[in-house]
């Protein structure tokens, strides 16, 4: 669960006009393209889960014959210990992973990581000190202990609130899962922004000194305009590389917490709880499809992000060595 770690990113500044070359080059890399294809499938499967799931993921059939069925044309990945259709549960778990990565990406990566990084790098001074020292403190903390403490503390008292949400909002039965989702995200985000903020800041610091920024400022451009129009385009490639390198860790945090029973638990679907239920000697001996079906898709998901992150770093690097 190394989400506070900084992914390795070369310290270079990219000229803004070259940034589309990254897109063109990535198309030429076969491994990276395979990874992107898998991620596209995974994300669309997750988003479209309610549409494509062949069964209700929570529909139980507890007779002996219905439980832990092997894959068949009716149940593509078989059924789990409570006779629920595993394929549908995997799809809904993918949905949890997809939503979770998007939420953490927007709040931690975009809002806090990019926003604070740009602010710290461009404004400098006490803002820079404050942001960077906070990041330092957060990355020095034992993340796991704190995430466990946060989730454990808040989970124990959500029953009343989930009943209220169930009665007063459109969430209905999903209210409990929604709250658990919020708790896990709330425990992840504080540690997830530091890496991207550091990368963005060091880039912004370098770009700030460029002549075109000086020219924009001399023409009276506002700070907002300078940041969004002149600094952001230069920062973006490395920011994206950093994010893609940390995505597996972010998604892994939710899976790990759910595995411990502190994240999304049944009736909600998560790969963590699926894997947890599929383990045990009896399952491994006689029903190995349970573990393969629930762990396989998410392992490939992590692998795809790892490969993509690696390919992106490699692209940036090869251009620096060529430039020498």
């Amino acid at each position: 669960m190394a989400i506070a770690e900084v992914a390795y990113v070369p310290e270079i500044v990219l000229p803004a006009r070259r940034r589309f070359r990254v897109l063109r080059q990535i198309v030429r890399k076969k491994i990276a393209m395979l990874a992107i294809c898998y991620l596209l499938i995974f994300y669309s499967a997750g988003l479209l889960a309610p549409v494509i799931a062949p069964h209700d993921p929570n529909e139980q059939h507890v007779t002996l014959a219905d439980r832990r069925q092997a894959p068949s044309s009716e149940h593509w990945l078989g059924t789990d210990t409570l006779g629920r259709d595993l394929f549908s549960r995997v799809l809904y778990s993918a949905r949890t992973t997809v939503l979770f990565t998007v939420v953490v990406l927007v709040t931690g990566g975009l809002f806090l990581g990019l926003g604070l990084g740009l602010l710290a790098g461009y404004r400098g001074g006490w803002i820079d000190t404050a942001v960077m020292r906070t990041g330092e403190v957060l990355s020095g903390l034992p993340t796991l202990v704190l995430m466990l403490a946060i989730t454990a503390a808040f989970r124990s008292r959500i029953t009343d609130m989930s009943f209220w949400l169930q009665d007063h909002t459109f969430l209905g039965q999903d209210a409990g899962t929604f709250l658990k989702f919020l708790i896990v995200a709330g425990a992840t985000v504080p540690f997830a922004w530091v890496g991207s903020a550091r990368i963005v800041r060091s880039q912004a610091l370098a770009i700030r000194e460029d002549t075109y920024v000086e020219a924009a400022e001399a023409m009276g451009a506002s700070g907002w305009r300078v940041i969004t129009r002149h600094i952001f385009p230069g920062v973006m490639p490395l920011w994206m590389v950093g994010l893609s390198g940390s995505m597996a860790g972010i998604a892994g945090a939710e899976v790990a917490l759910s595995y411990l029973g502190l994240g999304i638990d049944p009736p909600g679907s998560s790969f963590g709880s699926l894997i947890e239920a599929a383990q045990g000697t009896v399952n491994l001996e006689h029903y190995p499809h349970l573990l393969i079906a629930s762990a396989g898709p998410v392992i490939l998901f992590f692998f795809a992000w790892n490969l993509l992150g690696d390919a992106l770093v490699d692209l940036l690097e090869s251009r620096t060595t060529q430039a020498r």
Binding site: Y8, L141, V145, A149, A248, L291, I299, F303, V313, E317
Partner: protein, 316 residues
């Protein structure tokens, strides 16, 4: 060690004091503000209100938050980290230290293995750059890194212990063959990260003029690789090694759970669930102190190895 270095160490350690203070306030506040307290855990679901009141009084939870905090800091100044409510009659220090020792030994073995494999793999991949071997090697380790540790523990213990009967599983102390699997499961997923870092570092060294000079002098390729490339590429590696050192004292939850190791990460989980206020705080502070120390050690090491590094100018 010149006067500049001593001054630098002192400055860094002084800087650590406010950081630790902020951490302690934050975590202390978060723990006490969060719903639920240890008394619920001790007494179970049905209890007399008077019993709860008595216990809260005993542990001082009935007093205002700032009074509790001041009391905590006073005790901390005397080296007292408080008492465990989960393991009654044990101080937080007594709960933590023996388990930290177990986890650290296993963690250290794993760390040696991770870097012992990762560094050569990284050098190899960098030298094989442009061929199919480089992406193949790196992808293989990245694939291993993608498997969640709790899946890895299940699969390896099932295969190697139950099916093949190669190793025992039950916890038998650090000095036994039973820790082979835990150390491997702990070490191997990390190889990818080390190898990638080392690979990048070697590639940046490859472009340097002195490598061309060394080759032009007609030095043997092995001499160039080991003397010139590997040694220089190892320099940035010091940070990575140094920053992973404090982590080993924190233990690895899924490895400890999967193999039944009575380590500190298991204790952390129990403490977080209870909640065991003083033990959680002790764990967090302990981890943070180690992190600060590791950073200072890294900077000092750099100053020794590379005289060009001016400690005053380095950012933390």
């Amino acid at each position: 060690m010149g006067p500049g270095l001593t001054g630098y160490i002192i400055r860094r350690l002084l800087w650590a004091a406010p950081v630790l203070f902020v951490i302690s306030v934050l975590v202390f506040g978060m723990l006490r503000m969060a719903p639920g307290d240890p008394v619920d855990r001790i007494l179970g679901t049905h209890y007399e209100e008077s019993a709860a009141r008595q216990l809260r009084q005993k542990y001082g939870y009935d007093r205002p938050l700032y009074v509790q905090y001041v009391k905590y800091i006073q005790n901390l100044a005397h080296g007292d980290l408080g008492v465990s409510t989960l393991h009654t009659d044990f101080t937080a220090t007594d709960v933590i230290l023996p388990k930290v020792w177990i986890s650290s030994q296993i963690g250290f073995l794993a760390l040696v293995l991770t870097f012992g494999l990762g560094i050569p793999v990284g050098i190899y991949a960098a030298l094989a750059r442009g061929t199919f071997i480089d992406p193949l090697v790196i992808s293989w380790w990245l694939a291993l890194d993608a498997i969640p540790v709790f899946v890895l523990t299940t699969l390896t213990s099932w295969l190697f212990a139950l099916k093949l009967g190669l190793v025992g599983l039950s916890w038998d102390g650090v000095y036994s063959t039973h820790i082979i699997l835990p150390v491997l499961v702990l070490a191997l997923p990390g190889v990818a990260g080390v190898a990638r870092f080392m690979r990048a570092s070697v590639i940046s060294v490859l472009g340097e003029d002195y490598i061309r000079t060394a080759r032009a002098k007609g030095l043997k390729e092995s001499t160039v690789v080991f003397r010139h490339i590997a040694r220089n590429a190892m320099l940035p590696m010091i940070t990575v090694i140094g920053l992973s050192l404090p982590g080993i004292a924190g233990g690895a939850l899924f490895v400890e759970q999967g193999f039944g190791i009575p380590g500190i990460a298991n204790e952390s989980l129990q403490a977080a669930l209870a909640p065991d206020y003083d033990v959680i705080l002790a764990l967090v502070l302990f981890g943070s102190v180690l992190f600060v120390l590791a950073n200072v050690v890294i900077d000092v090491l750099y100053a020794f190895i590379d005289p060009r590094v001016r400690l005053g100018a380095r950012r933390g």
